[in-house]
Every structure is written in structure tokens, then in C-alpha cells.
Symmetry: C2
Amino acid sequence: MEALSPASLAAADAARKIREGLLTSEELVAACLERIRATERSVQAWTFLDEAHALAQARAADERKRSGEPIGALHGVPVGIKDIIDTADMPTENGTVLHKGRAPREDAAVVKALRAAGAVILGKTVTTECAYFAPGKTRNPHNPEHTPGGSSSGSAAAVAAGMVPLALGSQTNGSTIRPAAFCGVYGFKPTHGLIPRSGILELSRTLDHVGFFSRNVEDLALLAEVLVGWDEGDPDTRPRARIPFQTISSEEPPIEPMLAFVKTPHWEKVDAGTREAFAELTGALGERVEEVELFASAADAWSWHKTIMEAEMAANFEREWQQGRGKLSEQLRSLIERGRETRAVDYQRALRRIRPMVEGFDELFMERYDAILTPAAPGTAPKGLSATGDPSFCTLWTLCGMPALSLPLLQGSDGLPLGVQLVGRRGFDARLLRTARWLVEATR
Amino acid sequence: MEALSPASLAAADAARKIREGLLTSEELVAACLERIRATERSVQAWTFLDEAHALAQARAADERKRSGEPIGALHGVPVGIKDIIDTADMPTENGTVLHKGRAPREDAAVVKALRAAGAVILGKTVTTECAYFAPGKTRNPHNPEHTPGGSSSGSAAAVAAGMVPLALGSQTNGSTIRPAAFCGVYGFKPTHGLIPRSGILELSRTLDHVGFFSRNVEDLALLAEVLVGWDEGDPDTRPRARIPFQTISSEEPPIEPMLAFVKTPHWEKVDAGTREAFAELTGALGERVEEVELFASAADAWSWHKTIMEAEMAANFEREWQQGRGKLSEQLRSLIERGRETRAVDYQRALRRIRPMVEGFDELFMERYDAILTPAAPGTAPKGLSATGDPSFCTLWTLCGMPALSLPLLQGSDGLPLGVQLVGRRGFDARLLRTARWLVEATR
């Protein structure tokens, strides 16, 4: 990364410079475009990018700033948008040929919130097919022979490659945390229902979350503050008082945090390098971390997640399946076919297991722990571009709608980034960010 | 009904007299018990009634009144409780031998609200088996050879027979409106989610409503004001500002209401006497009523309701089916068996049809109409006690969660009561009561 280019600035720093007149949005966006021109051929993070349109937005932001009108928290800062998130001025093709040329008339709620905060919508980033498993063209910026992870492949890779300071993604299983870990950036999937999903391709109302990528914890807090809100179009959001994410997350924890190291029932998949790195990390944290075994019923979470995801995706992709199943990947087609056979009683049973499980975790947090510490993935980004890696270290937290972060604090034995996942109590997102900031400092 | 007995007072009148010291709760409850002794042999409305316990509650209410402590809106007034609604001091057997002797540890949220308002919980009223179709022992007070309707059979019959001024029921299809119509009392099923269902046998989260019975519109408003509220245990309730049902419903409508006479796709079932009575009623209302044809998709509502009810009841009665299906009625068993075969995609599809349908009705109300006028049932209470009658004139409104009333304004050619159903816009329950009061006056 060119240390002197504004493209390498974190979002909050860039926004500060723009606010203080030390940088223009046009300079920042031009630097990002330059960086993209230099690296996109190998990274392939973007599915739509119109340089002139991006620069026009930047110049309009600079014009507004000069006019003395009030400016938002992200004024002039470019953001990449996963291509399952609707934009009124750019196509949104959901990673499937079936939606080729799709041009939404309206911005998604999150894009509206970004524009209201002054952000420049830089372009659309590559998603896997319908945010499920079949990969897009993106490569890992740390090694182009390795997957960037998915489904938010382009967003994670673009932030990692220094193309853009912030990017939006989503997570229905491990689609934010896994690519963040593989690409070595900060990733955050807030509590279910905190960020409205209106105008985003729906896979599963129960499991879909908005997620996002940045270069530090401060930027995650900034973006959360901009995006959290109530939207009539998302029945899982609620009107709520403004949460001061930036203030809370930048405070010192009143007492040193205590972490619960959770291996999960999938620990046997974790490779040797990752085991070693986590042993070192927990060793260094000493008495601030304790290994905690999950209650037995947690082992069933993966099958409940599967039942819900298959049933809801089958319902949501009814039209694609009816009209174009020949153009769906084998993976997506067979998922839909399983979902079409799922019985309503099994689906309801799985839905009903979520609440008691969340209450189990609530107790864990109330009793003793500030956050759960666990791998973001079984290892570093696997070699090959035909798959996006294993989401199983994210499934449980996604099912429970708990806030989760991936922090790029470790390295695998192959030299690729290794994500540390921190998971918090539902609704305590700002505190999780505060604990994350503490952990980043503690491991420095 | 003995005109001079306090048992024939409406609830608000009785509460007023008690407040003013003109009547004691003990006198009122004793009069109700006397009335029950006189008529219960033929009506069979109660499944549990402990006279001493009822009188003890009444004496405690009188004691509290004498002590000068603040008293609630229903202080000293007896209420009958459908036997699917939990009471901590009486059994709750849900109309099935499988739950024989079941003794809940806690009151349902609505029973707590009644007690907090000072009500005397008189006893438990007969329900059909699990509030579905298989009848209990109750007979129609107007003619013991006819069904009282169901599933809230005992509650409707008890109010009709002058045994108690108020009784609680429920409605998942037509279980409040139909028995109210057949027994010739006032019945009200408020908007879905307005009254908490915690502690009530769950058939279907999507379709279950609390309903209740009284002798006039004023009492429905009084009871609604006591029961509406938020309860953590019912995910469909919301914290909301207090709705002044009594004030709004007792006001004159600012302009004369306009009613939409809706025949529904089931009109061909309506018998000659009912057609004639409705022709007379709409004739008398003149230009205040217009016949309105429903949008075409409304015709599918009955099959969506069926899909949802079967799927959700199959999930909720999993244990009864697994452990005691031999003791379930053929009707309930075959419903559960259909529900167990329902596919999750069909279930979700049905759920998703509700919202656009509600929006269709919202428009109808916004454009022109204060309420929909429609029969409560295809006719008067059918002869025979082996079935509880046809709920199909309630299905559509239950599916949409719209508030519905049955008003005992007409008579069939057999001399039995005939209910007029008024249906309002979701969330506009108090206005619906106001329109009902106007209609009652207008037809006097």
C-alpha cells in the first residue's frame, strides 16, 4: 500500500481531513480509483465501477462543503457496495446471470443512509451467486491463487487491497466474518435487526444481516452509527434511541474485559497453524481469557441453521427456480430443492430453538464474560478459486443474531492473515466494539 | 332474565354501582351464582366453578373497597374465563382429556390484567377440544337443542344466559364472533397483537387472538381498555400508549359512518332468513351502506388461512400427537396430520400474503368506509350438538388480524339470534366500537 496516498487512510481519518479542509473528496476518490486501476486486474473486486460517476459525486460533495451547508459523518468518503444491495444509479445483479442488467429504481435503506451521511457510492463489489456459495471472479489480495472468502468477496478484497476504506456486505452464514478474516481486514456483523435490510436481496429473513469491512475498529463504529436505524420495509428493525457507537467503543473498559474462548463443536476442523496461533494468543492474554465449553444443545445449531436457511431460501428463490433453474449453480439449485422439501413443522421447530439459545448466551455474558473469542474460520484462505471456504465458525452466531467481529490480529503458518472472531451479547454491539479495541491494543 | 337481579347488569353499570356503594361485589357474585344454579343444568357453560372461591374473591374486593384503597375499572365484577386461558387458582384443561388435571402455576397475562383491575375470576368456561372443532357439553341458551357455536362455547353461552356480565374467549378462525352471534351477545376480537396471549393455549401465533363477550358495546370498550397491553411473552404485542377505548367509543362519530356491505365469496352458503334480514338492515341504513365487492385475491384467503392454521397447529400440538393421538378427536388428528405434511415453502407463501391483503383493506377504509358490514355466520345456530357451525364468515378477517365485532341486532326466521358482523381497519379498534355504537342506535 502506498503510505502517502489518501487511498490508504481509514474512513474516519479521511472524513476528518475533508471536514478540516486538508483533503478534498475528489482527491480521495481519485486516489482510490488510481489504486483500483493498479490492482484490479489481479484482485477483481468490482462488478460495476463508473469512474466519472464516482468523481462527479466527489465533486458534488466538495461543492457542498465549500457552500457551507451542513455535512454528514462520512462526507466525501467513498464506500463499496456489495452487488446484492440496491443502488438507484448503478445496476444490481445479485451475482446471477438471471438478474443481468437489473436496474433498481430505489436505493437500499443502507445506501440511502450512506448518501445522507455524505458518502460517495464508489461502485458495486463482487458477490458470489445470490450471496450463496458459487464464487465470483474476486481473488485474495494477499495471494491471487487463494479465495478471498465469500459471499462478500469483492467488498472484503477491495478494502484489503486499499481500493476503498469502507465496503458493505452481508451475512446469512459466514459471508462477512469469513472474507474479512481471509483478506485481513476488520469485519463486523451487528445484531440481527439493528440495520435495515430493505432493498437487499433477501435470502432468509431470520438469518440475513448487513455486515461491513474497514481498516480499524473506529471505522466500524462510525459505520454502525450511520447505518443502524428503523425501516418500515424491514419488519425485524425497531424504532430505537440513537446508539453512540463511536463514544462507547472509544472508551476504556471500566474493568479489564474477560473473554470466553469457545472452540465450538467444529474445532477438529481447525488446522495446526491456527491452533498454534490461538494457543499463543490465549497464552498472551493470560487470566483475561478462559476456555468455556458450550451447553450441549448448541451442537444442534448447525442443523437448525441449515433447516431455516434452506426453507427460507427456497421460498425467496421460488421465481428463479421456476423460471431459470437451468442457469443456477448446482449448489444453489440443490439447496433450493432441499428447501422445497422441508416440512413446515421442522422449519417452525428450528425457528423456536433460537430464542432459548440466545437466552443461554445472555446468561454467559451476564455472569462473567465480555465477549466470546473464537476463530473466524478453520484456517487462512484456502488455495483455489472454486470455493469460498468453510463458514462453520460463523453459523452459530448468525443463527443467534449475535454481533460478531473479525479482527486481523494473527497470521497463519502460510503467512496469510488469520482472523480472530469476537462475539458479543445480542444488542450490546457498542460494548463489543469497545472490547475489540481493547483486544487490538492488548495484542499490539 | 330476572330484570331485578344484579346478575343482569352490564359490567360497566355493575362496576359503577359497586364504586358508588350501591352494590357489593358479594351481592353481585351471589346473584350470578344463583343464576348459574338455575340455568347451568340446561346450558352447561362451565367446566370449573368453585362457589366458595368466587365469593371469597368478592368479599376480598368488598373489603378492599371499604378500606379506601384505590380500586380498578372492574372492581368486584365477575368474569368467566375460557378454559384454554391459564389461571393459577383453577385448573386449565384446554378441553382435552390429555390435559386433565392440568394446574398452571401462573395466570395468563389477560387474567393478571383482570385481577389488577379488580375483577373476580368467577370460573372456567367450556371450550371445544383445544379450541378447535370437537364440541364440549355447552348448549345454546336460546334453545338447548342448538349449538352455542365454538370454540368459546361456554363464555358466549354464560353471558347470554345472564350468568356473568363478561367472559373471555379466543379466536383463531371464528371462535369468538360465531358463538357471540349464535348466542345473541356482543362479541369482540380486537386487532391481532393488541392483547397479549401469554399463558393461553397456543394454536397458531399468526392467527390466535383474544376475544370477549358482553351485553353491550360499552362493556367491550371497558374490557379492551383493561386487556390491551404489551407482554414480553407475546412477541406480537408492542409497547404502546394507552388507547382510550371508552372515551373514543362513546363519542358521536364526527360524520355519519359509511359502511361497506361485503358478501364475501361464501355468500352462497347464507340461508334465506339471513339474506332477508340483511336486505332489511341494509335497506333501513339507506345511503349509509354500499355493497362492495372484494378484490379477486381475497378469494384465496381461506386456503392461506388453512395452510397457516394446519402448519402452526401441527407444530404446537407435536407433543399431544406424539404421545396421545389416540385420545384426540378425529377432526383434530386429521388437521395435525395435514399440517405435518405441509411444506415450509407453502407455509411461508401463505404468511406473505397477509400483509398485501391488509394493505388492500387499509385502502378501502382510507378511501371511504368506516367499517365492513357482513354476516357473522351463514345463519342462526344450527340444530344439533355434534358440531359448532361454520366459521367461514370470520376466516378472512382473522387471517388479516382486523378487529371484528358481532352485534346481536337481528333475528333469523327460526326466532334465534342472528349476528351482524362489523369489521374495522387494523389498529382502529376504538373507532370500530364507536361505529358499532352508532349502528346499534341507528337500528334501534
